[in-house]
Amino acid sequence: MSLLPLIASLLPTDASAHGPALDHQLQLSLWITLGLAVLAHLLLIVGLVGRRTQARSSLWAIEYLPLTLLIILFATLGIRAERLWALTRYTGASHEAMQMEATGLQFAWYFRYTGPDATFGITRPQLASAAEGNPLGIDAHDSHGADDLVTTELVIPVDREIDLTLRAQDVIHGFAVPELRLKQNAVPGETTHIHFTATKTGTFAILCTQLCGLGHYRMSANLRVLPVDEFQRWLTQREQAAHP
């Protein structure tokens, strides 16, 4: 029986382009460390059970040789991990990526689409009011803002790179989509970009993963990944409803 699927079965669906490589690195790391933990415990138990001896090996055999092996092992793991990290984080999204924005506030996520002009409008804190239907404070006098669309679920097309801008209005929130292997904090006063491509259609959970107050646990939203044509229909429909 291969044990690899055992760990894979613990993880939720993997629906992003960078996910399989991440999962592979995670499983590799888990197996290596599990192996080392078992080895250390076996050595401990064998050593405790054995008869008393006087023999003492050199420090080279006990310490330096195993440590050299561990250096090689952890360096290999580290280099592999850094390469994956560099691939996903060192550069921004490609120019073809679709611009979207997620804003966290106690205890909800709001998502913004640019509209036909492909540009987000200016937001002003003093205009932000969920009661007046403008939770993000989009300035109506700004022509870029006039066609912006704000939703409470994130709907994206499959197989299209998304450049997601993360913001927070009040306190630090954590934007996490376990099924897309995504996590990044949204920090008030900062604009953070992450980019990703969903490879499977379906409805996935967006969770808050940074303690943000009493309602932290229920600060969640849905991520719906749609086939491209279905996404276009949805977007057109929503834009017409918002800006008739």
């Binding site: 995670l26 460390t33 804190p125 008030p188 006063g189």
Partner: protein, 486 residues
């Protein structure tokens, strides 16, 4: 003690800090809303929710008192170790326990001073209208905060200051345990610590690396991704001195047929928990894996096994081992001690090991409940509930096991077996006959205590012969004849 009064002040201030912290649960609005990391603006702006009033101020006061108390105790520890070692107590003869305290005290002085400064800044943000950690344009409950907190602050500044304290803090908690585990294992195995000087070096190396890796708490917090790579390297590097220690512990007990006292059991438990909890460190040290694992229960499993459980096993080792020195020579019951050990070990593993699995399944930490979660999150989290039930039951077992210890403590203080002067046949100075309880009549001997050799001078026993030499014993001929230099 170089400064006994300052040491006492540090101790009582710590007790006061605990009292203030506990009191914060009983004030209007309840305990601090922002958890132990107190990330602003949640911790800085009153409108962010209940638990933002007096509770948070008391939390700040408590942690500030604790920072002051720890700094005082650390200064006393450092000065005592540097200035008051007796004749012959060279640095390489210093017990590893003391090396652990020494390094932890160095870290404390550095880390707690930064924390105290950060607490002051946060207090000013709360009550003096400053904006160190509050960005312009922050909106809480629809109210723009700019008027109350002018300026251009950043919550990330708090994260840096806090974790510059927070990460050394976990080494402050574990280093003394590492040191005394080495000594207790050697004592009951009747063998010298394998690689004594290397263990001194690794203790210091862990201390040094410990202040260079705070950024690994911030891989997905808005840090420059290049910085994450740098912090990842320092974090992976600390696996090496830690592994060197594990190898030494295994080699020290290797084929010795040790004496399984309760102190020895807890020291072995420390090794086991340190290995199990520590090995998930190199996983979490990889920023790309933090993209999935950050702030999940996997992290909770990691640091509770290593810092909370291994740390507490270190404390129990110390209590069972040194109890006669503080109890007028009485020993804790070994029978109750064994019950306490096995139940605690069972509870520890059953509480924290399954958290790896719920974390891998995606369960975030800090969730007040896992049912009635709206949207697709409810479906994702529902799968973790059976394991969480097991964790809850195990946590109750773990807590109940501590009642056995409390009972043992209460009973043995009055009725415990009276120990010999040196019940464990230890080699270190705290078991010197002149320091033993009830030895007042022997104090006529005013000769100063002199250290003649490194600790753990155990000789391969032949029947009827003295098989160990304490550090204070002047029996040098015996020494040379029996021991070949390492």
């Amino acid at each position: 003690m170089a400064f006994p009064r300052m040491n006492a002040l540090g101790f009582w201030l710590t007790a006061l800090a605990l009292a203030v912290l506990l009191a914060s649960h009983f004030v209007p609005g309840g305990a601090a809303v922002s958890g132990w990391t107190a990330y602003p603006p949640l911790s800085a702006i009153a409108a962010t929710g209940p638990g933002q009033g007096l509770g948070l101020d008391l939390w700040l006061a408590s942690i500030a008192l604790f920072a002051i108390a720890s700094t005082m105790s650390s200064i006393n520890t450092l000065v005592t170790i540097v200035r008051l070692r007796c004749e012959g107590m060279t640095w390489d003869r210093l017990p590893l326990t003391v090396w652990g305290w020494f390094t932890a005290a160095l870290l404390s002085v550095l880390a707690f001073s930064v924390l105290l400064a950060a607490l002051l800044l946060l207090f000013c943000d709360r009550h003096a209208g400053t904006g160190f950690f509050i960005p312009p344009g922050d909106i809480v409950n629809g109210v723009v905060q700019a008027a109350g907190h002018p300026g251009n602050g950043s919550p990330l500044l708090w994260l840096h200051l806090f974790w510059f304290f927070g990460h050394p803090e976990v080494y402050i908690a574990i280093l003394p345990g590492m040191g005394l585990t080495s000594m207790v294992l050697a004592n009951f195995s009747r063998r010298r610590v394998v690689g004594y000087r290397l263990m001194i070096a690794t203790t210091l190396a862990i201390g040094l690396l410990g202040i260079l890796l705070w950024g690994h708490h911030m891989f997905v917090a808005g840090l420059n991704p290049f910085a994450s790579t740098a912090f990842s390297v320092t974090t992976l590097a600390i696996a090496l001195p830690s592994s060197a220690k594990v190898l030494s512990w295994i080699a020290t007990v290797w084929r010795t047929r040790p004496r399984y006292t309760t102190a020895m059991l807890f020291a072995l438990g420390f090794v086991s928990l340190f290995v199990t909890g520590g090995l998930s460190g190199p996983i979490l040290a990889q920023p790309i894996l933090d993209e999935y694992l950050h702030n999940t229960m996997f992290v909770v499993a990691h640091f509770h096994l290593i810092m909370a459980m291994a740390g507490i096993f270190g404390l129990y080792t110390a209590i069972y081992y040194w109890f006669p020195l503080v109890s007028h020579g009485r020993l804790l019951s070994e029978r109750l001690g064994r019950w306490h050990f096995w139940l605690t070990l069972y509870g520890a593993y059953n509480t924290f090991l399954p958290m790896h699995f719920t974390g891998l399944a995606g369960e975030p930490r800090h969730y007040a409940q896992l049912i009635q979660i709206p949207n697709a999150g409810g479906r994702l989290l529902a799968g973790t509930i059976p394991l969480n039930l097991h964790i809850t039951i195990s946590a109750f077992i773990l807590a109940s096991a501590q009642l056995v210890f409390l009972y043992n403590l209460a009973r043995s203080l009055r009725n415990g077996t009276l120990a010999d002067q040196n019940p464990w046949e230890a080699t270190t100075l705290e078991w010197h006959p002149r320091l033993a309880f009830g030895s007042a009549s022997e104090v006529e001997d005013e000769a100063p205590i002199i250290v003649h050799r490194p600790p753990c001078w155990y000789l391969e026993a032949t029947p009827g012969e003295e098989s160990y030499l304490p550090q204070w014993s002047a029996d040098a001929i015996h020494d040379i004849k029996r021991m070949k230099p390492e």
